[in-house]
């Protein structure tokens, strides 16, 4: 069985301050970029399943400008076998929307016959949380979103999902789509020899416009603004003062 893992490259928001462009056209993407944390979890899970001999081959796919190949090399260094880069200049946080990504994944799945698709639950730039569900809908495959535990035996999959009220376990037969939540695993660090080896692993490059995908999604980003800032807070000197403020100023009790 072969698994396809979608990986996205995003601005490293843990070290880069998000800056909105003054003309409202979007976010300044010039800072350091990293693999979307949820995609890294998806890659890690696929590699673990391969190490357990449950899947035979792990293929990482990414869609975006040339720089996204670094994210694919990172995935190969972690242990993916092959990579596919779909090249496009569409902005990954505005124009390259989940529906387009899902349609690209669908094309590749139909071409290469994958039985399992692992994706992150959301990317931390557009925060959409949609691609896996859209893909499952397009393919008419079962879906398991927000996975925190995955068990696969032959074609039978059991997934524990993080739902609002706690945890839920569901089961289905492959093929299927699973989106990964934070607590599924802790992604490994790529070792130097593996980074070297990754340079020799196959990376197929395709042009988005060669796939014949309709880029009209019915959603257009008009502008991007900075959120309203909260007023800077007061640091108080005692618990008495806090209780007094909560009671008499905020009138909470």
């Amino acid at each position: 069985m072969r698994a396809l893992v979608g990986v996205k490259r995003v601005l490293d928001y843990t070290t880069t301050k998000i800056r909105v462009k003054p003309d409202g056209s979007g976010i300044d993407l010039s800072g350091k970029q990293i693999i979307n944390p949820f995609c890294e979890i998806a890659i890690e899970e696929a590699i673990k399943l391969k190490e357990k001999n449950i899947i035979k081959e792990v293929v990482a796919l990414s869609i975006g400008p040339k720089t996204f190949q670094e994210t694919l090399r990172h995935s190969l260094a972690m242990g993916a076998d092959k990579a596919i880069h779909i090249s496009t200049d569409l902005s990954p946080d505005q124009k390259l929307q989940p529906l387009i990504v899902a349609k690209i994944l669908q094309k590749i799945i139909e071409r290469d016959n994958f039985e399992l698709v692992l994706l992150g639950k959301q990317s931390v730039d557009d925060d959409f949380n949609q691609t896996g569900q859209l893909l499952a809908g397009l393919l008419d495959w079962p879906q398991a979103t927000f996975a925190s535990q995955i068990t696969i035996k032959d074609k039978d999959v059991e997934v524990t999902r993080e739902i609002d009220a706690g945890l839920q376990t569901i089961g289905f037969k492959l093929p299927g789509v699973i989106t990964c939540d934070l607590r599924l695993n802790t992604p490994r660090y790529a070792k130097i020899p593996d980074i070297m080896k990754a340079k020799k692993k196959p990376l197929e490059e395709l042009q988005l416009n060669s796939l014949g995908i309709d880029l009209n999604t019915g959603l257009e980003v008009i502008k991007t603004e900075a959120p309203q800032q909260r007023k800077g807070g007061q640091v108080l000197s005692s618990v008495d003062e806090l209780v007094n403020k909560l009671r008499n100023e905020a009138k909470l009790f």
């Binding site: 998000i18 859209l134 809908g137 979103t145 927000f146 839920q168 376990t169 257009e220 603004e225």
Partner: protein, 342 residues
């Protein structure tokens, strides 16, 4: 201009211009968030239908009739089937797709909950349409706002599709007044079994592990007391329980760091990838205030930060801050709130 457009619409057959809201419930009642979602949906000023899916949902229908005015929901559509028992996306989305085909809804609206997010894109895919998740503001009937980059930017989007697929963030809207309910008389039952294909290969529900809590629901509680890594252990979370008990109407939350360290269960996580809350009072205890956490609570009315590090980013957004040892401050605060309330 939009008022004019709405007037024009009212001349047409209303069924061609209506909104479908997908109800979330626990088998007995609508979830509290739904009253906010219904209010958001009513801003389209079009006929609204509320879809109730599940198994044995008659109690839910009664609850809706008792708490939702017919001015807000003109029709309840009921899909009651064993195949919908756990409202798995695969089955529910087929029912919704069929209703869209029949009634040509202009808007399909869900709560931005784990269930809403699971279902909505799956349906939208069938209509070749890009959905909009986490909408926080309705500017007009086709223009909306939603946060991106963990709430560090607000994106204004325009939807041009025949049917718009929207998940609304409940904390951004007020609830409808549920006391003015007067019987919704139009209840339509649909034969869900005939609408759901691939019955043999549907996702099977195996088990739920629902966290038990006597506290109010995190996303709708009046007050939230949240703990972070600064609490140092699972047992220490009990000092938050005491404070919550004294405050009343208070839910307990946690930062991702506290959840990852095993101090609190996953479902208490507040943040970009956890729950989004906007209570009247949010007390952040031992939470530094990473942007992923702030994304889940920065719309709270009053934010109190208790942290020993005066440089912690949480102090930049907190209304009131106390710098010091949380193990001294929280018990003292608990005692003094108790005294103040007497």
């Amino acid at each position: 201009m939009f008022a004019k457009t709405f007037k024009q619409f009212s001349c047409f057959n209303k069924n061609n211009f209506s909104t479908l809201v997908v109800a979330e419930h626990n088998g007995e009642k609508l979830s509290k968030s739904m009253y906010k979602i219904l209010n958001a949906a009513s801003k389209f000023k079009e006929e609204t239908h509320l879809l109730v899916t599940g198994e044995n949902v008659s109690k839910v229908v009664e609850n809706i009739k008792a708490t939702v005015p017919k001015e807000v929901v003109s029709k309840i559509i009921v899909a009651d089937s064993a195949l919908l028992k756990h409202n798995q996306a695969q089955a529910v989305s087929q029912v919704i797709s069929n209703l869209i085909n029949q009634n040509k809804y202009k808007q399909v609206v869900v709560d931005s909950s784990s269930s809403g997010k699971d279902i909505l894109p799956r349906v939208a895919a069938k209509f070749n349409t890009q959905p909009a998740t986490d909408v926080t503001n309705i500017i007009s009937n086709d223009t909306f706002q939603r946060p991106v980059y963990a709430g560090n930017a607000i994106s204004t989007i325009k939807l041009t599709s025949a049917t718009k697929f929207l998940s609304f963030r409940a904390t951004s809207f007020d609830a409808i007044n549920s006391e003015q309910a007067n019987n919704i008389s139009d209840v339509q039952k649909v034969d869900a079994d005939s609408l759901i294909a691939k019955k043999d290969n549907l996702v099977k529900h195996i088990k739920d592990e629902i966290a038990k809590s006597e506290r109010p629901e995190l996303t709708s509680a009046r007050f939230v007391v949240s703990g972070g890594r600064g609490l140092k252990s699972k047992d220490n979370f009990s000092i938050l329980e005491n404070l919550a008990g004294v405050l009343g109407e208070t839910a307990i939350g946690a930062s991702r760091a506290a959840v990852d360290a095993g101090y609190a269960p996953n479902d208490l996580q507040v943040g970009q990838t956890g729950k989004v809350v906007a209570p009247e009072l949010y007390i952040a205890v031992g939470i530094s205030g990473a942007i992923q956490h702030l994304a889940g609570m920065k719309d709270s009315k009053v934010i109190v930060a208790i942290n020993q590090d005066p440089e912690a980013p949480i102090f930049q957004i907190s209304t009131y801050g106390l710098v010091g040892d949380l193990f001294k401050i929280v018990p003292e605060l608990t005692e003094k709130v108790k005294a103040a309330k007497q």
